[in-house]
């Protein structure tokens, strides 16, 4: 999937295709980790994803614009292969109290992840 996108963006061809769906990148799947079990498809309330025609491959994100951002697909993915990405207009920032540095979700060179588990 990703490889295919890259080809589309680097070659010199142009395509007459519909405008981008927005939001279009709500579900990001790590294809190395995904085993194509389709549990994400089973738990999604709005059928954002459908099975890949090729068995064992990552699901196809068909209706990203219907995502409710409930996050159940990410929570319930047994392989930890799937994350939810908020659209750009939903991202906010924070300020480090001591230093006044400003950070935001999606920034270049972000701080290291906070690995403390939740309760």
């Amino acid at each position: 999937l990703l490889a295919e996108r890259r080809i589309l963006t680097v070659d010199n061809k142009a395509y007459a295709v519909p405008n981008p769906i927005t939001p279009g990148q709500v579900v990001v799947i790590n294809e190395e980790l995904c085993n194509g079990c389709n549990i994400c498809i089973d738990v999604c309330r709005t059928d954002v994803m459908v099975p890949n025609p090729e068995k064992g491959k990552p699901p196809v994100v068909l209706y990203p614009d219907e995502c409710w951002f409930c996050g159940c697909c990410a929570s319930d993915c047994p392989a930890g292969a799937l994350i939810i990405e908020y659209p750009l207009n939903q991202k906010v920032g924070w300020k480090r109290k001591e230093t006044g540095e400003y950070f935001r979700i999606g920034m270049k060179n972000p701080p290291p992840p906070n690995t403390r588990p939740s309760v």
Binding site: Y15, P20, T22, G24, V43, F69, P112, N114
Partner: protein
């Protein structure tokens, strides 16, 4: 470029619909108790009916394991008055609820569902615990914290003195645990099936309900469910007056995007009596323009009572109910001097039951330059146990907030060090602390209705065989209310199913519904898609039954809805069962829109509590209109009616909550 590639990818690879398509193929299913909608209410109903040995079937448009507005989680549970630490009894709580009402319904609030919350919340939590959910602080993470009871390990929110609101550990696991319990009890679950109509005895409007029909949203197959009793636990109609997926997809709708009002519409067509359908929106959800709920700096609900600072680090003070400045953070969790207990909520009603809040004149002070925007939520400035409770316990377990936690953690946000920014808004928007949403004109905001089915102390509707739970019941919405009414309705429906004989379905009624469901496939397809249709319908609701209305606009709205039904809605293009279902939802929205306009015509007075402004009847809350407007259909004719706002305490009901409960609860 990524987006272009996405479309190209779809075009190339999804040549055929990935599921088998069987439009019209019939499957018949029999049950003692049929549960329509497998959310929080529906799962509790199914479990409790199945425990009584009845054969239970659940039908859900999405995935029962996670669907429903509460499917992703819950972090705190109000009105658990019978928990062993509570210092408030259900009876005492009902005293203040008289003029507050659960969920801002004011004097129009429903006493039955509110009393059930007070009475059975704790039992429900024990129930959930027995299914393997943590509920308490079993891992002793918060040992010694002021909100924790050391003996029971229960944790509380808001009023730490009176302890009736429970912080729920493991809230994000509840739905999965209930799903597994349904399976264990042999409940038969039909996921991806959208219920479309109720079947009645002899096909007659107003007769006993004996089943339902449905259509599979992936395969287009048709289902006929026959059942002795039915629990209607679908979601209430949401996203009616604003629709755009452009900014944040389905999240533009506050409630589950599947909540399009099928339950309300099918009950209406079957002849059930509805109440308060005219109620306007609660003005703090914001369609596509808001931020993720609880996902920006704020001090509301999950974030109560987070320290808020301005751009220079200056703290915004908190005051108690009486306006006295609270010096210490721990005072934000106590009632005011002389106040027995507080119920969190905005200042409302005569009993002064609200708790501490940020200074009410914050907007004026921002205007004067006393506080400099942007504001920040100062988690590092909170005591360690409160910081951990907000960020580590409540955020990850509240509905839809697990990904807020995951997203920020991944991006390197550290609650021990970082101030989360509050969105920048016009100063007047800083009055109410749900700051992710309180932006924009009222008409940009989603309309959240309190309207729904009228019901009695058995949670029975006006139709025999039909019980109601969750937000399908009028003025009953949120996780806790759905849970307790679900349990109760499940018990009552199971009991009823043992007292009645099965009734044969009326084939002409099924045929008519089948024709209705598949009509959009057969019509001309030269028109618009379902999304454009839905946005157009939202515009009609906004313009003609919106913030202000009169007889003329409401009649015009009805004309428009009917006209759209005849033209645009009759030429929508449909390319697969998903689009068929979304189109059927639009038809449902037309029906619900018509009910809302009819109910709005019937209430000839304005009302502050109902967010209801009639320009031609501008007197606000005149005493003679302190009553419920009800509506039902009889032989296709609309029958408006009225009901006392506390009908549950007047004959034939007993005069006290306790007597009615003891007589009806089935315990």
């Amino acid at each position: 470029m990524e987006g272009v590639a996405m479309n190209e990818f779809n075009e190339k690879n999804i040549k055929e619909w990935p599921y088998p398509v069987n439009y019209g193929k019939e499957t018949e299913v029999g049950a003692d108790v049929l549960v329509i909608g497998g959310g929080i209410a529906g799962c509790h109903a199914a479990i409790n009916a199945a425990r009584q040995g009845t054969k239970v079937v659940v039908v859900d448009k999405g995935a029962t394991v996670r669907s429903g507005s509460g499917g992703a989680g819950v972090d705190h549970w109000h009105l658990a008055c019978t928990n062993p630490c509570s210092k408030v009894t259900p009876e005492e709580m009902m005293e203040i609820m008289k003029d507050f009402g659960e969920y801002d319904y004011g004097e129009f609030g429903n006493g039955i569902s509110t009393y059930l919350l007070c009475k059975e919340s704790w039992d429900t939590l024990l129930d959930i615990e027995s299914m393997g959910v943590k509920v308490r602080d079993v891992d002793d993470e918060f040992k010694g914290a002021p909100f924790r009871d050391e003996k029971t390990k229960l944790m509380f929110a808001y009023d730490y003195v009176n302890r009736y609101c429970i912080r729920v550990n493991g809230g994000a696991d509840i739905k999965v645990a209930m799903y597994n319990e349904c399976k264990r009890l042999g409940v038969e679950i039909f996921d991806r099936v959208m219920a479309t109509s109720l079947l009645t005895e002899g096909g007659r409007q107003g007769a006993r309900v004996i089943g339902a029909t449905g259509v599979n949203v992936r395969t287009g197959e048709f289902y006929i469910f026959k059942s002795k009793a039915i629990v209607l636990s679908a979601g209430y109609p949401a996203g009616l007056s604003i629709f755009s997926t452009e900014l944040k997809g389905g999240a533009a709708q506050f409630m589950d995007p599947n909540n399009s009002g099928e339950g309300t519409a099918m009950a209406w067509r079957a002849g059930a009596e509805l109440a308060l359908m005219e109620r306007g929106g609660v003005p703090y959800t914001s369609g596509g323009f808001g931020y993720p709920q609880y996902g920006v700096g704020n001090a509301h609900n999950t974030w109560y009572a987070c320290k808020i600072v301005d751009a220079n680090g200056k703290e915004v003070p908190w005051v108690d109910r009486d306006g006295n400045i609270l010096k210490n953070i721990e005072d934000r969790y106590r009632p005011a001097p002389g106040q027995k207990y507080f119920y969190y909520g905005r200042a409302y009603g005569t009993r002064k039951i609200w708790g501490p809040s940020l200074i009410p004149d914050l907007p004026e002070r921002i205007m004067k330059g006393e506080y400099v925007l942007p504001l920040y939520a100062d988690l590092p400035g909170m005591p360690a146990h409160e910081r951990r409770a907000i960020w580590g316990l409540m955020i990850p377990h509240e509905g839809k907030c697990r990904i807020i936690y995951d997203t920020y953690q991944r991006a390197g946000f550290d609650p021990d060090k970082d101030l989360l920014q509050v969105i920048v808004m016009p100063p007047e928007k800083y009055t109410y602390s749900a700051w992710w949403a309180a932006y924009g004109a009222r008409q940009w905001r989603e309309r959240i209705h309190g309207g729904g089915l009228l019901f009695d102390w058995d949670l029975k509707t006006s139709l025999d065989g039909l019980y109601v739970a969750g937000c399908q019941a009028y003025c009953s919405a949120n996780h806790a209310s759905s849970a307790v009414t679900g349990r109760y309705a499940g018990r009552k429906a199971a009991q009823y199913s043992r007292e009645v004989e099965e009734s044969g379905i009326d084939r002409p009624q099924v045929n008519a519904e089948k024709a209705r469901v598949y009509a959009p496939l057969k019509q001309g397809k030269g028109g618009i898609g379902w999304k454009e249709l839905r946005a157009g319908l939202a515009r009609i609701m906004q313009d003609y039954a919106g913030e202000y209305m009169n007889e003329e606009t409401l009649q015009m709205g009805l004309t428009w809805l009917n006209s759209i039904k005849e033209s645009e809605a009759s030429s929508v293009y449909i390319r697969n069962p998903h689009e068929l279902a979304r189109t059927l939802e639009c038809l449902t929205r037309i029906t619900v829109g018509e009910i809302i306009m009819q109910a709005s015509l019937a209430r000839k007075a304005s009302s502050k509590v109902l967010n209801f402004n009639r320009l031609d009847f501008s007197e606000v809350d005149p005493p003679e209109w302190n009553k419920l407007v009800t509506l039902r259909q009889e032989n296709g004719r609309i029958k408006p009616g009225e009901k006392s706002v506390n009908y549950w305490l007047i004959p034939p009901n007993a005069p006290t909550y306790e007597e009615n409960y003891n007589k009806h609860s089935g315990l």
